[in-house]
Symmetry: C2
């Protein structure tokens, strides 16, 4: 019997009834003789409601105060779940992020976990208690409350699992597993029984949305077996581990897509040598995530530098680049919005050349223009017009034989 | 120019508009050149809503988890107020109880402040920031989040004022000051310009409800000038200090009343010597507040011991006394509910014998039966049937010349 970490997202704890239901799930695992640590997100729409309130205070709330405000959401749901467990006769203690020993870097709204001090959690587990931990939050070295950014509760769960050497980390969510693609948009999408960390990492990074990339990274680094499963149904879910067997005849595991991409172009960069590092270190300092990067040399000897960011970072990125114009040395900044990224992922690609070619020919057949490309050993991503994202995803998903009917046949 | 501590209660921060209004109040004080620390309660009905949620989890939530849940209320309002101040261009930082250095004893739901570590607040004040602190909460030596009990935000404000050597502590509330009695029930009630700590302490303890007794105690011990004033109107309020001048011809400052009193009687106490301390130490250990105490000797040599408690403590008191029956040694426990306490308070009483006599004769004239009596140098309290509480308060208030018309004449 080991330690199991369970994570329940906002939808799973979205109402009084659902919290009681989660308590049942927790008890099921506890009754198997396991020690259980539960990580919870804020109840359903709580976070949205808090964001709305903040918006009525000021149009640009400071990140520190936003973190202060938002972390109340998880503190609420964790104490309610602990009460529901106590109501069923189980000893339970809820802990905020800082009480559970989650230490982060000194960054608001998007901090990384630097350390997990497990002594308190361990001693409470030794008392036979079910520990309920607030996801998404931690404390920095100055005693400031920080948050881990979107999907941060997954990261909390996996970091705790790693630190406490848990047997497994179960991510309960409103879907029953990881799919070959998003079933809301692609009809043939099917649930995967298994997937490797690396593939999941690409899918998570590519916006599949089921799991936070940092959580997968943590799991990979510490070899924590992750499952993604439904909080509502008693089904198997998807197991994420180092070497997930590939189904026959397939080289691609899944197709992901992500809208609200912006292509930024730094036009007429004066000095390639100093300009490149300048742009990306300034963006990194400001915690702006850059994805695909492309450069093109002009006849003048100057260079254009293009990169993709999330649309939500657009305003900030424009401001930052504007502020550092002299330092970077460029003529102007252009940007194109209304773009999306579509990607194929699969560890089988390495040994199967021609996968990218197949992808491009499918897109060409459907007359979809490719605006940016990026590849890794296990993925190919293209940026297309947002209006063509769904069409592209469907065509690619079918072309690589991922459709439910194709596999079952 | 000194440090001013301002405290705003739940009604004062009850909506987005009201929080903006509070921000104005804070800025007014800041613009006078003062350093300002603001202590806030949870927004309006937040606490009630959280209590309701807890009730849907379990009928008997553990106090620790209740504290965990309820403290989110102040954390919300403090961050929202800090945002409202930032929106107006003022540097502001919100702090939870533990971040503001509020240390308490290791008791849930009703902890006392043991220490205030001011270093963080001081260094933030030195940066010219307005500090917004979550009232009602603190942290014990084990890193547990605790709450200070009803009205605890007042205590937070005064404790901070004392620790930081503030010039004044302003308690903003939905009434415009301390009244000679509760104006909702007694027509002639009038606002007092001043009142002494001791009188206020008796009034607060007697349920006048404007200020938490512990807050007044703290203010008295550290000589902090307190004002109680309206958060909505620009009026003077009531100043609470050591020696508040008495208005002419008056010996009584105010009349307080408090319903939901229960008279408990320990019938047939076997051993007076050991039984008395046993009863009260057991109740104290369980943090049950006992008010009036009366004993009566029976012919058998045994003793009946009566004492009054709040009705909310009745169930717990019955259980505790039942559990310790052998240890205390008694025949049975009786209790009478539906009782209320009516009290007169005034420092003038000491030098004016006959005050109690006047009170009893007024009650007799109105045929109100007195069930328990208790006196101190500056107060006389009687316990009466709850149905007669308002009648008694009105009669006494008028009899001691406290009515508005009487004083103005």
């Amino acid at each position: 019997m080991g330690i199991i970490v369970q994570k329940f997202g906002g939808t799973s704890v979205g109402s009084v009834e659902k919290i009681h239901h989660v308590a049942n799930r927790v008890i099921l695992e506890k009754e198997k003789g396991n020690d259980v640590i539960v990580v919870v997100s804020a109840m359903g729409k709580t976070t949205d409601e808090l964001v709305r309130l903040a918006g009525e205070m000021t149009s640009r709330p400071e990140k520190r105060e936003m973190d202060m405000l938002l972390t109340t959401g998880e503190q609420m749901s964790m104490s309610l779940l602990a009460m529901a467990l106590q109501n069923r006769g189980y000893k339970s203690t809820s802990l905020t992020g800082w009480q559970a020993g989650i230490r982060t870097e000194a960054v608001f709204s998007n901090a990384r976990i630097t350390e997990v001090k497990t002594n308190r959690v361990e001693s409470l587990l030794n008392e036979g208690r079910v520990i309920v931990v607030a996801g998404f939050q931690g404390m920095d070295e100055n005693g400031e409350i920080t948050t881990l950014g979107r999907g941060g509760s997954d990261t909390t769960a996996v970091a705790l699992a790693a630190a406490i050497n848990a047997e497994r980390c179960d991510i309960y969510t409103d879907v029953d597993g990881v799919y070959s693609t998003d079933p809301r948009y692609v009809t043939g999408a099917r649930k995967l029984n298994g997937i490797s960390y690396d593939e999941m990492l690409e899918l998570a990074n590519l916006g599949a949305g089921v799991l936070h990339p940092r959580a997968v990274e943590f799991a990979k680094n510490y070899g924590i077996k992750l499952t993604v499963r439904s909080s509502m149904e008693e089904t198997e879910g998807t197991l994420i581990e180092e070497d997930a067997p590939m189904e026959e005849h397939l080289v691609v595991r899944g197709v992901a897509f992500d809208k609200d991409i912006v292509r930024m172009t730094v036009v007429g960069l004066e000095n390639e040598l100093t300009g490149f590092p300048a742009v990306f270190s300034i963006l990194a300092e400001n915690h702006i995530d850059v994805d695909i990067i492309i450069q093109s040399k002009l006849d003048t000897g100057k260079v254009n530098l293009s990169f993709s960011i999330k649309e939500s970072s657009l305003d900030e990125t424009l401001q930052i680049l504007g502020r550092h114009k002299d330092e970077i040395g460029y003529q102007e900044i252009e940007h194109e919005t209304n773009l999306s990224k579509v990607s194929i992922v699969g560890s089988g690609m390495v040994s199967n050349p021609g996968v990218a070619a197949q992808m491009f020919s499918v897109l060409a057949k459907h007359e979809i223009q490719v605006k940016m490309v990026s590849t890794s050993e296990i993925k190919v991503s293209v940026v297309v017009d947002s209006n063509e994202m769904i069409k592209a995803a469907n065509a690619i998903h079918e072309s690589f034989g991922l459709n439910r009917s194709a596999v079952e046949a």
